[in-house]
């Protein structure tokens, strides 16, 4: 357990916070690249997912994509793409986006699909156009599952970026790779703690957001998101979001 003390001392050692690529620099680099990848993935997957959820078309393809993506080893995908395109940030971003699309797609279409058909019919009967139904009914009601997809996506990207350090990328994984290469277990553990902390903080922030975005009318009906076990509809797609991490 003393190794943990040493690792925390290493993290907070001023020498690792000043000059050159320091701890804060690597944290920011990790967050920045992750953020860009998540944004690109959201921009691609969100409209497609909403369209699939709204029309019910292409559902089979979406399920197939998320199944295959779950089976693909991130390490292998990184290795192959970097060998094909060369070392750099771009291939890493491409791999991360490829891996980030399926969970976001799953969250988006599962969220829209989970909206009660009667609610949508009611909106249509009130005279709402299809766009209004999507924007004012389906998306607000889908937000908890949508953000669930975003959480899975962000975790996937942060974790995979940690692995990307093995392929000549900086980020927080660099401490793990350097620590392993030099048998410096304190640095190794410090890297592991930093990546874990980053993942937990990002996930925590998104989890809080997920609680706040539940529309009030829905929140009145079910107060607890992890709710009592008699809800079957909205919970079903969770199976999709689990098990998708590198």
């Amino acid at each position: 357990m003393n190794l943990f003390g040493d690792a925390f001392a290493w993290i907070f050692d001023p020498a690792h916070w000043a000059g050159g690529p320091d701890v804060s620099g690597h944290v920011l680099e990790h967050l920045g690249v992750s953020g860009v990848c998540v944004l690109i993935a959201v921009a691609i997957a969100l409209p497609i997912g909403i369209a699939i959820g709204h029309t019910g078309k292409g559902r089979g393809a979406a399920i197939l994509i998320s199944n295959v993506a779950r089976a693909l080893p991130t390490l292998g995908l990184l290795s192959i793409l970097i060998l094909l395109t060369g070392i750099g940030v771009l291939p890493i971003v491409i791999v991360l986006v490829i891996l980030a699309i399926p969970p976001m797609l799953a969250g988006a279409y599962a969220g829209v699909e989970s909206v009660d058909r009667q609610t949508i019919d009611a909106a249509r009967a009130l005279g709402m156009t299809e766009w209004q139904i999507i924007a004012r009914v389906e998306i607000p009601l889908a937000l908890p599952l949508l953000l669930g997809g975003l959480r899975a996506t962000a975790l996937q990207v942060i974790a995979t970026l940690g692995i990307a350090s093995a392929f000549a990328f900086g980020g927080l994984g660099i401490y793990l790779i350097n620590g392993l290469a030099t048998r410096d277990f304190v640095q190794l553990l410090a890297g592991a703690i930093l990546i874990t902390a980053l993942a937990l903080v990002v996930d925590g922030v998104l989890a809080v957001a997920q609680r706040f975005v539940v529309p009030r009318g829905v929140a009145l009906g079910r107060t607890d998101l992890n709710g009592p076990p008699n809800r079957t509809r909205a919970r079903r797609p969770r199976a999709l979001q689990e098990g998708m991490q590198s």
Binding site: S66, P73, G76, G162, L176, L180, A192, T196, N226, Q245
Partner: protein
């Protein structure tokens, strides 16, 4: 693709497939076995459910490469011990499976339980004869997700020097030899497919009623859909 390399390294490829199977089978089995009592507890008590699912969620959030380093420090194992990988994968497996198992037991209709009690089943009998068999479809759906992600995550172990199929990815990068990485990728997908076939066959053998009533019973239909996801 360098077919000559593949031809002359079939032994190595086969060996790493076996290592991959040996490293991933225990986490999948242990994950299933541990998740049954934990999931059952979570389906019986709200407090247990929220504690177990929160802990599972937090453990699952830990990135794999970090968990692979944290496990040996906490357990006091050598950093290159293959057991680290087995422990780390087991942690992920249980973290995912607890939720599936809790949902599986919660999916057993309350009136079925009441009927079982009414005709004189003890709690033990009721669990083994009624609840566990009825939970099989959702348990199976969960363990299929677990097996696929376990096979995929295991390859990360190559970064801390644990030899299995993932080692092909690291070697391929270091030698600039894409063939090796593609071989590794194909083998990982094949291993995942082998597990999936074994599990779905086993599941079908364990639930003979679901084949006859797949269309008639909406619950079984849902379970199959989840399995398809």
């Amino acid at each position: 693709m360098n077919w000559v390399w593949i031809g002359s390294n079939l032994g190595l490829i086969g060996g790493r497939i076996l290592e991959h199977l040996a490293l991933t089978a225990p986490p999948i089995v242990i994950g299933l076995v541990l998740s049954i009592p934990l999931g059952y507890a979570a389906s019986r008590s709200k407090v247990a459910r929220s504690i177990l699912l929160s802990v599972g969620g937090i453990l699952y959030t830990i990135p794999s490469i970090a968990l692979l380093v944290l496990v040996p420090v906490v357990l006091g194992l050598a950093i290159l011990d293959p057991l680290n990988l087995v422990f780390a994968l087991t942690i992920y497996a249980v973290a995912i499976m607890v939720r599936s198992a809790a949902d599986a037991f919660a999916s057993v209709p309350k009136d079925v339980l009441a009927s079982a009690t009414a005709i004189g089943f003890s709690r033990r009998q009721r669990f083994f004869v009624v609840e566990l068999p009825l939970a099989v479809p959702l348990l199976l759906a969960g363990i299929r997700v677990v097996s696929v992600s376990t096979v995929s995550i295991a390859s990360v172990g190559a970064l801390i020097g644990i030899e299995q199929l993932g080692t092909f990815f690291v070697d391929a990068f270091q030698r600039s030899f894409p063939t090796e990485a593609i071989v590794g990728m194909v083998c990982v997908l094949a291993v995942a497919a082998i597990y999936d076939i074994i599990l779905s066959r086993t599941g079908r053998a364990l639930t003979p009623w679901s084949r006859k009533q797949a269309v008639a019973s909406p619950r079984m239909y849902t379970a199959d859909k989840v399995a398809a996801l």
